[in-house]
């Protein structure tokens, strides 16, 4: 097997064109002294990755507008359907950039540009029929090239010649636009510090050179030799050794959409509710042991048992005694509705954002059934496949932010509910036990928020104490089994 792979490897190395091998297998050798093709990468992902740019020595004059005609597809096909444009009017294109995608009789064809220039006119809309031999786009070219068709390309192995401006025996690389800028400002390219790849001179370098022309010492360039010593003024501090990095990042603005847009509305409504907070800590040492004992049993049934099913069931048992926490207040604040079902929501961090699916009718479910349901919701959530049924109808919410991190929090109530709890991470901390000895305890912090219009502090506190009791002594839950 290994022999074949090596064999195939060597075959492939011979197959690949010269330039590709130079580029990929010996990247360290590239320097401005060698004649290397500059490789232009464009933004378009379907574009062939190795578009080769040919540089011209001509002075840059915008040339004539050329009609670029649709060339022969082969097999005698006379017309094609334009399926996608990669450019629009006014876009700058380079030779070999993709212009459009056309389809004909099960063949998908990428049409590439013959020249550098600017697109001036598109002759067809998407889904229109284009004729072979008729104009496809108008390109205002940068040079005096007159050829009009996208000729079928035979990969040229002999395009080794490059046009570099040779100044004092050194080859410098710069695009035509940069050369023009230098020429207009009477700048010698050899004197400019190149910060581009492979010692290429960029527009920023020309601008930097211009701004420094009044006096500062030019910093020594790594790949160039400066022939004339620059003037040294008396009182100015020498510039730093490295050229200043230019930050070219741009702000990106995009409209809010979908879920995030809807959340703006929900959260605005949520903060109209007068919240009050109540925090406590829970000693989960016994629960940790119980869960450890139960895990093999649940695993045998293919169910993953975390702490959440216990937290959820304990909350439901608590809500039986404090139904006002499982209620809803109407818009006019006239009536309070005590919900019969305990649909306990679980805040879930998904790829789309924070979604809150809920487990329906927890009052009727056992801890194992809750665990099963949680598994189902977690799988759907991870795949981004939660549906409306799972995401609506919640009456009470628990947010396990501790699974990511944190201790205390200040959760926001999700309307139309009236209470929410945020669970911190479980930490092992020293605590005094009943006999006054320091022991390692599994401590989790909980932060509750409730609607102060209908819930008072005492109610929240008593609910929290009851919930805590069920978790600190899990055997108490046995007393309430039905």
């Amino acid at each position: 097997m290994a022999a074949v792979t090596r064999g195939s490897f060597i075959v492939f190395r011979r197959l690949l064109s010269q330039q590709y091998r130079c580029r990929c297998f010996r990247p360290q050798c590239v320097s401005s002294g060698r004649s290397v093709q500059t490789l232009a990468f464009t933004r378009d992902r379907t574009q062939r990755r190795f578009a080769w740019r040919t540089l011209h020595t001509n002075t840059v004059n915008y040339g004539p507008v050329v009609q670029f005609k649709l060339s022969d597809i082969g097999e005698g096909i006379m017309e094609v359907t334009v399926k996608e444009w990669y450019v629009k009017e006014g876009d700058k294109v380079s030779q070999f950039d993709s212009i459009c995608e056309v389809q004909s009789d099960k063949a998908s064809v990428t049409i590439t540009s013959r020249y550098d220039g600017v697109i001036r006119k598109l002759y067809y809309e998407v889904d229109a029929t284009a004729q072979v031999g008729m104009p496809l786009v108008d390109i205002e070219t940068e040079s005096k090239v007159i050829q009009e068709e996208d000729v079928v390309e035979t990969p040229a192995m002999d395009q080794e010649e490059h046009t570099h401006q040779e100044i004092k025996g050194h080859k410098t690389q710069a695009t035509p636009a940069v050369r023009r800028l230098a020429m207009e400002n009477n700048i010698k390219l050899s004197e400019v510090v190149a910060t581009g790849k492979d010692g290429r001179i960029l527009k920023e370098d020309i601008l930097n050179f211009l701004s420094k022309q009044t006096g500062a010492i030019l910093p020594p360039a790594p790949m160039q030799h400066i022939q004339t010593p620059p003037p040294i003024p008396v009182a100015i501090k020498p510039a730093p050794a490295m050229p200043k990095p230019m930050f070219t990042g741009k702000d990106v603005t995009e409209p809010l959409k979908g879920f995030h847009k809807a959340m703006v509305k929900t959260m605005t409504a949520a903060l109209k509710i007068p919240h009050f907070g109540y925090c406590d800590e829970v000693d989960l040492s016994r629960l940790v042991r119980v869960r450890k004992d139960l895990q093999p049993v649940t695993q045998a049934q293919g169910v993953k048992l975390s702490y959440m099913p216990f937290f959820i069931k304990a909350a439901s048992l608590g809500l039986l005694h404090f139904p006002s926490l499982n209620a809803s207040l109407d818009d006019a604040c006239q009536n309070i509705t005590y919900k019969a079902s305990h649909n306990i929501g679980l805040a879930m961090d998904t790829s789309q954002g924070l979604l809150v699916p809920n487990v329906k009718n927890v009052q009727m479910l056992s801890v194992l059934e809750i665990a099963l349901e949680l598994n189902r919701l977690q799988t759907l959530g991870a795949a981004g496949q939660l549906g409306t049924a799972d995401l609506t109808g919640g009456t009470f919410t628990l947010s396990n932010i501790g699974s990511i991190g944190g201790t205390y929090a200040k959760p926001v109530i999700l309307p139309p509910e009236v209470a929410i709890g945020a669970l911190g991470k479980i930490q092992i901390l020293p605590r005094f036990d009943a006999s006054g000895q320091v022991t390692a305890a599994h401590i989790m912090k909980v932060s509750w928020s409730a609607d102060h219009r209908i819930i008072d502090g005492a109610t929240m506190c008593r609910f929290s104490n009851l919930w805590r009791e069920y978790l600190e002594t899990p055997e108490q839950m046995l007393l309430h089994l039905k």
Partner: protein
């Protein structure tokens, strides 16, 4: 080891080089991952110099649905059925129609430079090879570039891609099929893609009891009479980044939502929906008009016959759905958040409307209009 690998004769390095000098290389992909194999085709097209060479690639894939470059995935296949069956969707770079790939479907790709692009010749080589392996079979290539068995069963479809310098033509070859799986995920019209459609073979037909390795050998040697050289088969591993630099990135791009769904040409959905309120027993109908561009909802309009919901709520609903992916789950998340803020009748009706809308998302067949 799978029968695929064990039956191959591993070529010696020398014979590989002989093949190179004479200009034809025959390779087989080790992978059965649809995206990796499509990425391999893409990589070969971009990186191999085909001036004086032909390259022939064979691959198979585990169950997957592959749509053509410019097709609409929602129109071609049932996304939910595919999700439930665990069948992935891939969009290839070449044109043509939808195909269901599984281990019973062999893919043959003929790479050449554009000047030598000739699909009929490629298909002739395949039919000749099949006849040599099983002389009694009536296999013929049609004008539509299909291969039919006994004049009525379509066992192969073609698609191709042309770019600057390179071209490839690939075709499938059905040698054993799971018809039921195929029927459950593809929409009816995808199975019949031409005016006078030949039906796809049913799984009960004993088409080829040629074993797969024998078939593979027969097909791989189909180059000899037609293209003048006989080359042994070499196996490629498309997950090997050192052999194919950059292939991982191509495969990721092919797996991405932006490529698979985002490249769908613009389409419109126009339909009428019926709504009823279970509490008040009122009924109404609504006209739904949705435009989808690049896989995102570019506009949505719901016009009711009677006063059903407050106008600002309809406006908000359309607002949260616009600009989002044409995906029922994304829409469900957005709509659920909106439902929270409503009460009573408005909430009930909004909930029903949303549920109805989301079942329609991706379920359009009769109502689909391509622009």
């Amino acid at each position: 080891t799978t029968p695929l690998l064990s039956s191959l004769s591993y070529p010696s390095l020398k014979s590989c080089l002989v093949a190179v000098r004479k200009g034809v290389l025959i390779f087989q992909s080790k992978s059965t991952d649809i995206h990796q194999n499509l990425a391999l085709e893409d990589w070969i097209e971009s990186n191999v110099d085909l001036t004086n060479r032909r390259l022939f690639l064979l691959w198979r894939s585990r169950a997957a649905v592959v749509i053509g470059r410019h097709q609409n995935p929602w129109a071609e296949c049932n996304q939910e059925a595919m999700r439930n069956a665990g069948v992935p969707l891939a969009r290839r770079r070449s044109g043509g129609g939808t195909v269901y790939h599984d281990i019973g479907n062999l893919n043959l790709t003929f790479f050449s430079c554009r000047k030598l692009y000739d699909r009929q010749r490629n298909l002739k080589a395949v039919t000749d090879a099949l006849r040599r392996a099983r002389p009694e079979l009536d296999v013929r290539a049609t004008e539509r570039l299909d291969i039919v068995l006994d004049g009525k069963y379509k066992i192969s479809g073609s698609a191709s891609r042309l770019s600057r310098g390179a071209s490839y033509h690939h075709c499938t070859l059905l040698h054993s099929a799971d018809g039921s799986a195929l029927r459950s995920v593809l929409r009816p019209q995808s199975l019949v893609s031409t005016a006078t459609p030949p039906p796809v073979l049913s799984p009960d037909d004993p088409i080829f009891d040629t074993s797969f390795p024998k078939l593979l050998n027969a097909v791989s040697f189909c180059f000899s009479p037609e293209f003048g050289v006989s080359s042994p088969l070499a196996v490629l591993d498309p997950s090997d980044e050192s052999l194919f630099p950059g292939i991982g990135r191509i495969a990721s791009e092919l797996r991405s939502w932006e490529w698979t769904f985002g490249k769908t040409p613009k389409f419109t959905v126009q339909t009428e929906i019926n709504l009823s309120d279970d509490l008040t027993l009122e009924r109404t109908t609504a006209q739904l008009h949705i435009e989808v561009k690049n896989g995102l909802v570019s506009s949505i309009d719901v016009t009711f016959q009677h006063q059903w919901l407050p106008q600002r709520l309809i406006h908000e609903l359309c607002g949260v759905l616009t600009g989002e992916r044409f995906c029922p789950h994304r829409a469900a998340a957005a709509v659920s958040a909106l439902i929270r803020s409503e009460r009573d009748e408005a909430q009930r009706r909004l909930h029903d409307l949303s549920t109805l809308l989301l079942t329609l998302w991706g379920e359009f067949t009769e109502n689909l209009q391509r622009e």
